[in-house]
Chain length 220, copies 2
Amino acid sequence: MNSKKKVSIAVIRRLPRYYRYLSDLLKMDITRISSKELSARMGITASQIRQDLNCFGGFGQQGYGYNVEYLYNEIGKILGVDKKFNTIIIGAGNMGQALANYGNFEKRGYHLVGIFDVNPKIIGKKIKNIEIMHIDKIEEFLKENKVDIAILTVPYEHTPEVADRVARLGIKGLWNFSPMDLKLPYDVVIENVHLSDSLMVLGYRLKEKFGRVEDKTQNE
Amino acid sequence: MNSKKKVSIAVIRRLPRYYRYLSDLLKMDITRISSKELSARMGITASQIRQDLNCFGGFGQQGYGYNVEYLYNEIGKILGVDKKFNTIIIGAGNMGQALANYGNFEKRGYHLVGIFDVNPKIIGKKIKNIEIMHIDKIEEFLKENKVDIAILTVPYEHTPEVADRVARLGIKGLWNFSPMDLKLPYDVVIENVHLSDSLMVLGYRLKEKFGRVEDKTQNE
DNA sequence: TAGATTGTTAATCGATTAACAATC
DNA sequence: TAGATTGTTAATCGATTAACAATC
């Protein structure tokens, strides 16, 4: 139907959180839950929960609430956990390796198919049974493999160039770990993980809430 | 003054982004900028920039705009980059090690003073000249060292217990990397980095924008 | 049936954008 | 001075919350 209006990003960003809470409820063998109960657990209003869910359809039942397993599966479908996204990691430094080794992504349908770097010392080495390739092999690799997402964990200064390179090669999703905003002349979806931004916000909140923090020593 | 109303978290979360853009301008030797020019670069409205900045005071000058270096420094002060936050990492797995090795945090005043784990194979090993200690040494350690922030990169199931333990010991800031919301009976600031949430949102946006994605194969 | 709880509309609240007088 | 651009107030927009009829 063309009547469905675009769901706001604020709602979308809450979905994984619902998904996590429902997963917890499932583990606790709770089979049904009302928006009121869930709101108490999550610390948001029942109204918001019902509004959010109704962006995607009526998953509940009057007088009953929501079936946990059903709602969990439906939100999973909305988020695409039933889909397979082929991913590559570019930059096999500490962060790249940490992400490669994190098993949870595979479970959610994010299938790692390639790892690239430029460091000759690690090329050929295997992580999760995937051989680290030189970045210059990427054109060839992408010709032979359909890849949906590139995870960018390269050093700061190389990020724009690498992002451009993979976007030009047709990759549609970028998960960017560099503290910069990518601007690309291609139609790609960019999701940023700005760790340093997050840390600075934590610092701000600490400072605001608890006041005095030590000054940084000059020239340390 | 007690007249200053609380600045909304939406504004706060934009500050690191301003800070990054101003840093870039500085590097380009641009000394002044108007809200209009900055808005064009950042892709937000000039109005929003002026509103945001005016939450903290008038940093600009009519007819001139903003002095880049001055504004950069002022936002830095608001964010507390001139402060020193002593931090510890709990969980020296892939993610913990990646964060320990990331040099940028140190530059922003986040000073790593300890690393903890339970794995006997890595205890005693050094990262960034800091010896990995057993988590059971943490009570002793915190008695002797003032620590502001604990970075939690422990496995999922241990996160609540570890978070509670360090909060009870007086740590006021938690940077949580586990895909869960921490609920603590202490007055702490928790900043979450929910990587899997972020990845799922990327998946959703890809699916929405480009439609067809391969279905996940059963039992893979 | 009576009670519970949804789906949905209406009201409120807060955040963003527009407008403009102040002023450099 | 004239032009530019801020700081700030007012208008708009969108998101959250409240209310309640529908219905299980």
